[in-house]
Amino acid sequence: MSVLVYTESEEGKFKKVALEVASYAKAVASQMGTTVTAVTFNVSDASELGNYGVDKVLNIANTSEFNAKIYADALKQAAEKEDAKVVIVSSSADSKYLAPLLAVGLNAGYASNVIEAPVSTSSFTVKRTAFTNKAFNYTEINTDVKVVGVSSNSFGLVENSGSASVEDFVPSLIVSDTKVQSVDKASDKVSIADADIVVSGGRGLKGPENWGMIEELAEVLGAATACSKPVSDLGWRPHSEHVGQTGKPVASNLYIAIGISGAIQHLAGVNASKVKVVINTDPEAPFFKAADYGVVGDAFEVVPQLIEKLKEFKAQNA
């Protein structure tokens, strides 16, 4: 009756969220006095998971690329084999895709966007974000089996000096009518979901032609680029960069908002970020009330300086 965790990988390498959910699973298993079993797909060396508290790995080899229906069913079979009462997934696009299917398969209650280890594992209660980060919500899961989706960059990575045994697991794979035709993914850019740092621009930048400095700042910091809703509505930047209540949520370590006034919907979407910096000409911009550090100044003067200073900093600390 171990805790089961779905540890996602890409081209055989674990995603950062995989190590975070493994750390989370270990915390749950410790509370419940049991062990952690991870499920991986197409990973040749899963020993790294031992460093994050995983005791046993079930690797499913030779499966197709991600398919929510097929993967959810394979995870269900793994959960049944291990008699798992708690199944942990991440908040990646793929995990959020398959978690509801898995929950129905296991007849399990599912709580998403969970940010802390369970408050209690007897009456199983977790703290999650709700109202797009404007509030928290304690949810009790009443079913025998529980599915928990952990918010990215909330629990963090917790190293553990253990080792994981790895075995092959061969579920009976179901078929799906849904087939991938094409994938369009910028491999050289950091995605907003994975980024430790996000640099975001708003209407204060005056036009798409001025995004060069945003991209340069992001490059210096190894950051992802994002934008406010008006910017994506105006077509200055793609929708995939829109962060906020109706766009993507951001939970980075550092969020830098440039020329963004901070409408309530925008703040809700980025509030989970740990440190927020705002650069804006208007000292009355609502973002200053939500930020940790602020510069009242013209982005066109401040940002190039910031890029220079960061380059100097990087050179000194390289």
């Binding site: 398959l98 299917l101 998403s112 709700a130 404007k134 009790e140 079913t143 550090y293 510069v295 300086q305």
Partner: protein, 248 residues
């Protein structure tokens, strides 16, 4: 093609969020309710299928009588008829079970729901509905075309997008991108008048258990004051981010 659009009745995005009854209930006092934005993108895409491919559109909400103005708005935008399953929407799994009954009885080819509601952000109803009705499912959907019984859908993935081929019956977890923000429709007077005459059927709920329950709410702790750095002293900002915030 018979389309069902699931409509969640949520507080307007500008709402201040407060709780009552010892932080166990959302305080609806002074709050304006709207169609969940993710659902509105789906409804607008459904209107495209209605106008270009002759589809019919039903809208459905699981909730009490207070949600009817939101359903009437969906009718004013252009849906043909509305269904309200008369029970409080407390748990995503229970909502999905109510909707599954509506989908099975109605024989819908395409069901469009928002990828999540902006209040509870559960993000589970469309996927659970697909599993319960054994339909195909595409989440985070930002593009959808239907040709006969085949569909092509684009979904957002972390750092990009993916296009899939699939078939009806199909359930969509939709979001912005299904249509553009500028394509959203504000109901006109004629639409509002017509919506009054369109059918709004109230159904009794099926029995469900409560898989999850929201036991308590909490608001984030108030934030400390912002630390201002002079635009002439950006060195200080870099130093604060490194030494104090420890994020670079």
């Amino acid at each position: 093609m018979k389309i069902l659009v699931c409509i969640s009745h949520v507080p307007d995005t500008t709402s201040k969020i407060n709780f009552t009854e010892g932080d166990t209930k959302f305080d609806t006092n002074g709050v304006q309710f709207v169609i969940n934005p993710n659902d509105e993108f789906g409804l607008t895409r459904a209107m495209w299928f209605k106008e270009k491919q002759g589809a019919s559109i039903d809208v459905v909400n699981v909730g009490g009588p207070e949600t009817e103005p939101t359903l009437r708005k969906a009718l004013a935008i252009g849906a043909d008829s509305a269904i309200r399953v008369n029970t409080a929407a407390t748990d995503g799994f229970a909502v999905a079970k109510q909707l599954a009954k509506v989908v099975q009885d109605g024989g819908y080819d395409l069901v469009i729901a928002g990828r999540e509601s902006i209040d509870y952000n559960g993000g589970m109803v469309p996927g659970m509905l697909a599993a319960l009705t054994d339909a195909n499912f595409v989440n985070n959907c930002i593009g959808l075309e239907v040709d006969g019984s085949n569909a092509t859908a684009t979904r957002e993935i972390d750092g990009g997008k993916e296009t899939v081929s699939t078939s009806l019956p199909l359930i969509i977890g939709g979001q912005k991108g299904l249509v553009e923000e500028s394509d959203l429709r504000i109901p006109n007077m004629r639409g509002i008048m017509m919506a009054r005459k369109k059918p709004l059927n109230v159904l009794d709920p099926v029995d469900t258990s409560t898989e999850t329950s929201a036991v308590k709410f909490e608001k984030p702790a108030p934030k400390g004051a912002v630390k201002l750095v002079s635009p002439d002293n950006i060195d200080e900002l870099v130093s604060l981010l490194h030494n104090e915030a420890k994020v670079i």
